[in-house]
Amino acid sequence: MTATATSRLSGLPDSPADLRTFLHGLPGVDKVGIEARAAALGTRSVKTTSKAQAIDLAIRMVDLTTLEGADTPGKVRALSAKALRPDPADPTCPPVAAVCVYPAMVPTAAAVLAGSGVHLASVATAFPSGQAPLEVKLADTRNAVADGADEIDMVISRGAFLAGDYAHVFDEIVAVKEAAGPAHLKVILETGELATYDNVRRASWLAMLAGADFIKTSTGKVGVNATPPVTLLMLEAVRDFRERYGRQVGVKPAGGIRTTKDAIKYLVMINETCGDDWLHPDWFRFGASSLLNDLLMQRTKLTTGHYAGPDYFTLD
């Protein structure tokens, strides 16, 4: 039996033409339908005990992020300290999942987080545009890992994807995955730039086929970031991918999720799309910064029965 026939039997596309045929053979997405479904899931009412449970889970899923040109070691140290103990007044409050910073800030964050169990994620590959030669992207990745990042958030080349050059995008992800070595690879699709739901589904499958450990919606640097329908679509993709290939991939919506209410809507979406297996920080993350304080505020409200003012929660 030839190599081609074998890989066809296992279902993995193995040439640029196969890849294209495969991605274009995925079922289409009806815009009105998926938006209606996401909105309907948003009307679930989560109260009392389930709300408390949801808030703690959401805190444990936060990738506490700062990605600014103005980031300094001081700022990153403060953020990392907060990641370890989000609510200094309440030791029962769990730590967040990870801190997410630019590669230059990785050593600073690593010094604070070392041995804590809180992961250290770094954006790499010429974040956020991805418009740099492959060698630069790979060096960026290796650097971040060498400095202590155990998660890499890469961006795909949206230009190549939109030009239909799926093989290029595929090969880049494979190369970055290799450069990242033991670090977990999150692949940012930048769904706001992919524009259509059909593209988001194709890009999700493309990233998963190329070896992504996580698929992530956005950089947070363009006009449209994570939205409920896009996240729903990506959850469907990881669910279907595991069913087909047996490998579980995580999902990370990022950008624009600021309130507890929003975060809970995402948890409901996981619960009713993929179920228990994804309701864990290993398989779902929120890329966010201001979300954490709202979660803490709601958490305090549930335990004490009243709202505390913003001054009772630490600045990032």
Binding site: P27, G28, V29, D30, V32, G33, I34, A36, R37, T43, R44, S45, V46, K47, T48, T49, S50, K51, Q53, A54, L57, E236, L267, V268, N271, E272, G275, D276, L279
Partner: protein
């Protein structure tokens, strides 16, 4: 046990103040209830209130009141009638939470639907026809269309207030007056609507509500002084009504049963099609005349689609209609539950394979787990008869032509659905389906601007849209 359980989130019923007993609403006044019957909450079988049982004399009085009111109501300029309708629409919006809770109590439908579907559509219907009231000359129905007189209207229990709106809004906009009989098991929201009419200062006699069972409905449609009969309900009763009004000169519209085909082609947007199938048959416990109760799925994707459907059905939450997280509420009555149970047993007996997700049903009240039957053929009774419950019959087809043939192979023709990403296929198939409404890549979507009605045994006449005016004008 799932990792993430939703705690109960019940809507408070304290917003609804129920009287122990309700009389008939005739000539702007609630009368004393003499003969009565009880209306119960199907979710716990508790009595909600006693309601008057209207006899022939009561119907006489109601029709006479409507006749008296007709003279001045029909003489009002359209713009004046519109003001009343706009006012009613606004009051319905203001009281929508109360009315949604009431509807869920009396009918058993989940609050999520009464709140997000029924009540918004009810108000929208009144707003829409209010807009027509002063533009009837431009509706394409002649230079000076005239109202018919007194309309006798009989409505079903599945969407009590929405069906009332479908009937009353166009009748009033066109200058007719109304005697309406709500269904025996769901009379309360119509009586609350009577209160809305009083609140809006609607002139006495323009809207009259007579409660009762089948006999009351018969007195009303057979009443000699009724000019127009509008009925929504079963095909069997529709036939009796058609016979009884034949030759009387009464104008008649009937909106009857259905056994809609929901056709899923292999190029459908699968995840959304699954949602559409669920919405098509489990919306309102399947108590929907246009429910997508026959799933026609292309054989090449049947097994994967059914797996996805079953996975989705396992997340449906059946239980307390007032819980905001409930997807499927109570079956409306013992009689309806018996019918669903009976037909389902016949389906299993005829060799179809029955499946329901594991789901715990409450001890009291009328409940039926969401159910699908696979391996159904056109020869099975569950593929031909309207079950009017959360029961889906799944059939397969090989080609578009076969899909059309099977979809049309039913005495009904109220609605149909097509799922495909291919526009040309949707148009070609829709063209060949003999159904009053054909949805493409969606299901059970309603809008006051869109006419609704059936082919064949699903009835005649249209409600909604400009077409809906025609039934009330001469």
């Amino acid at each position: 046990m799932s990792l993430f359980e939703y705690a109960p989130a019940p809507e408070s019923r304290s917003i609804v103040e129920l009287a122990p007993s309700y009389g008939l609403f005739i000539d702007g006044e609630f009368g004393e209830a003499k003969d009565t019957f009880k209306t119960i909450n199907p979710a716990d079988e508790q009595v909600l209130a006693e309601v008057a049982l209207a006899g022939p004399e009561d119907v006489d009085r109601a029709v006479a009141a409507a006749r008296r009111a007709f003279e001045s109501w029909s003489a009002l300029p359209g713009s004046e009638r519109a003001k009343y309708l706009f006012r009613i629409a606004r009051i319905l919006q203001e009281r929508s939470r109360e009315l949604a809770v009431l509807e869920s109590l009396d009918n058993g439908k989940p609050i999520k639907e009464s709140r997000d579907v029924d009540l918004p559509l009810v108000a929208a219907h009144f707003f829409y026809y209010a807009g027509w009231a002063d533009k009837l000359k431009y509706a394409g129905l002649g230079p000076d269309p005239r109202p018919l007189g007194v309309a006798g209207q009989v409505i079903p229990w599945n969407f009590p207030l929405l069906m009332l709106a479908w009937k009353i809004a166009p009748a009033l906009a066109t200058g007719n007056t109304v005697v309406l009989k709500p269904a025996e098991t769901t009379p309360l929201s119509a009586l609350f609507f009577a209160d809305v009419c009083r609140q809006a200062d609607l002139p006495p006699g323009v809207v009259n509500i007579v409660t009762g069972a089948g006999d009351t409905g018969r007195y009303l449609v057979e009443h000699p002084d009724v000019n127009k009969v509008a009925f929504t309900g079963s095909t069997e009763v529709g036939r009796q009504i058609a016979r009884s009004v034949a030759g009387t000169g009464k104008k008649l519209t009937l909106e009857l049963g259905g056994k809609a085909a929901n056709i899923v082609f292999d190029d459908a947007p699968i995840d959304q099609a699954v949602e559409g199938i669920v919405n098509g048959i489990f919306f309102n416990q399947g108590h929907v005349c246009c429910a997508g109760s026959r799933l026609l799925v292309q054989e090449s994707i049947a097994s994967s689609l059914l797996d996805a459907l079953k996975r989705r059905m396992a997340t449906l939450r059946v239980g307390d209609p007032l819980d905001k997280n409930t997807d499927i509420g109570a079956i409306n009555s013992r009689a309806q539950l018996d019918r669903i149970t009976e037909l389902s047993e016949i389906g299993a007996g005829e060799g179809a394979e029955r499946w329901s997700p594991p789901c715990e049903l409450p001890d009291r009240g009328f409940w039926f787990a969401p159910t699908i039957f696979t391996g159904v053929t056109q020869a099975h009774r569950i593929a031909r008869e309207e079950i009017f419950g959360p029961v889906l019959s799944v059939l397969t087809f090989r080609t578009p032509a076969e899909a059309v043939e099977k979809a049309n192979n039913t005495p009904y023709g109220l609605s149909a659905g097509i799922w495909s990403e291919k526009g040309s296929r949707i148009l070609a198939v829709a063209d060949q389906l003999r159904a009053g409404v054909v949805w493409a890549n969606t299901f059970n979507k309603f809008d006051p601007t869109s006419p609704f009605g059936g082919y064949k045994e699903s009835g005649y006449g249209r409600e909604g849209g400009r077409h809906g005016l025609e039934a009330y004008l001469a």
